[in-house]
Symmetry: C2
Subunit: 336 residues, 2 copies
Amino acid sequence: MKRRRFTLVRRPRGTPVAADFALVEEEVPPLAEGEFLVANRFASLDPAIRGWLDDAPSYMPPVPLGEAVRASTVGEVVTSRNPAFPVGQWVVGLNAIETHSVARGDGFTSPVDPGLVPSPTAFLSTLGAVGMTAWFGVERVLMPVHGQTLLVSAAAGAVGSLVGQLGRLRGCRTIGIAGGEAKCRRLVERYGYDAAIDHRGRDADAIAAAIRAAAPDGVDLVFENVGGACLDGALMTLRDGARIALCGLISEYNAPAPVGARNLWQLIVRKATMRGFLVSEWLAEWPEGIAAMAALLAEGKLVADEHIDRGLDQAFPAFMRLFEGGNDGKMILEIV
Amino acid sequence: MKRRRFTLVRRPRGTPVAADFALVEEEVPPLAEGEFLVANRFASLDPAIRGWLDDAPSYMPPVPLGEAVRASTVGEVVTSRNPAFPVGQWVVGLNAIETHSVARGDGFTSPVDPGLVPSPTAFLSTLGAVGMTAWFGVERVLMPVHGQTLLVSAAAGAVGSLVGQLGRLRGCRTIGIAGGEAKCRRLVERYGYDAAIDHRGRDADAIAAAIRAAAPDGVDLVFENVGGACLDGALMTLRDGARIALCGLISEYNAPAPVGARNLWQLIVRKATMRGFLVSEWLAEWPEGIAAMAALLAEGKLVADEHIDRGLDQAFPAFMRLFEGGNDGKMILEIV
């Protein structure tokens, strides 16, 4: 039996190019005891994947050259040597962008029931790592209090759009930063942000001025996905005791070297805290977070958008949308 | 009655120069009801003063042009229209580098008893803002646990030398970063650091390598006074869940623009926290902190060094020692 895989053939330098990857077809390896084969139906394309392509010390080993690119997938078990994961069982797990993944049922693979949701893609978005990043980032890192002002960057993105809505549900005034007029309209009209700021053509000072115009008393909470000018601008508008949840720095993932932030001195004068986090910190509590997000969805209190591109041959351009701002909602690849 | 003052005549651009300041003599203004005149005996020279010289939004208004440079002083009341501060009372307060300060007895001026300490300079060092910065930074921001590894930059400085000793008393393994061989020897021999790293001639990568050599498992706690390569190096060596107390960024105070840190992505992958703080956050608890530090001093558990330059005409070169690393211990100006 053959499988097709989207493999890494060369480590990207800066912005990935198509030639860094290859589509290969190969024989599915035989299953060892305890393993099972998942026919992947959808793969989650996330900015974090960019980090896994580099050979740098991080929270996970880099994707080996010649191997399929790591990603969360949802799919159906089609062969099994693991009684806990029988044929026909749907699972979500950290697998790879490929038609079939060999899985072991370890910590990162869970059985799911696609009958519970309108589409199994929900397990990669609102009920997956993206939804849990928003949920635990808000609940455990920002811990908003009614009446606080929350600033979100990449506010129309998969995580950001949920963070803005969760913040609003907690009684925050929400300000979103996004790229372009159309996204800024979506922030207000679709995700309920109180104000939207277009970062395009604005440096850190101009972003800070725009934040101050929307929040003259400054911001209490920042959910940071972007870094660069967005973060440096946000730092200039903190209120005393502000908290920054540092979730991602997508603006620098393709930079030749880390960029960071220049206005760190504001953390001192504002007695502010910046907390980096990974959603895996609360892995044991995901079931609780998934139940909470599922309930909000069922009650119609959350808008969750997905942008689905179709076909393994579209993996590269679909992935690159994340860095070009070319997706509206959670970026997902349908594996056919 | 005349007083002499060290005044700001021009806002420094980058590194201050002598011509940014002037020594002037003027008539002491008449006291209003509630005011009293302090004959300053010693002034505390601190890196924070550099920030007060800039016209930038911060936690305090900038020193006005033509005014004496703000500094903590200790001295004796010589004229008084405030019954709570009678003539002969010694006080410590946020005044200025001048022979006589007009004070009102507000939150930043407290009566002290110089009979309790070997020298009144103690109220500007171990029992003053410097000592409280170390104490509350360790107790309230870092909250060390026995067996953790603590990294301190500017580790031979007024604050850093106390932080290393407080960390050691709490059961931490302590690593200090300082500039030059002599200071590194002091770290180990005088302040009890377990290891010393000379930052001179080392970039962020080399500093990270040196930290890793001293702490192969990484560092749990960082007390950051310097920024730049020291902070970027430290960021590369964090353990999971590390905490950084951001106290100061002296390496960039004279830079033409803020520098910040490039390796912020490590906060994410290490699930780490950076907390900026000002010692004024715990002003109401200073008496408790002062009592704790006084007890440690009395028990001979703390070494507290002072570097005293003499004469108001030495104010500028004495202040500049802070940025040149030319002082061993708390920098104090004796006002004569």
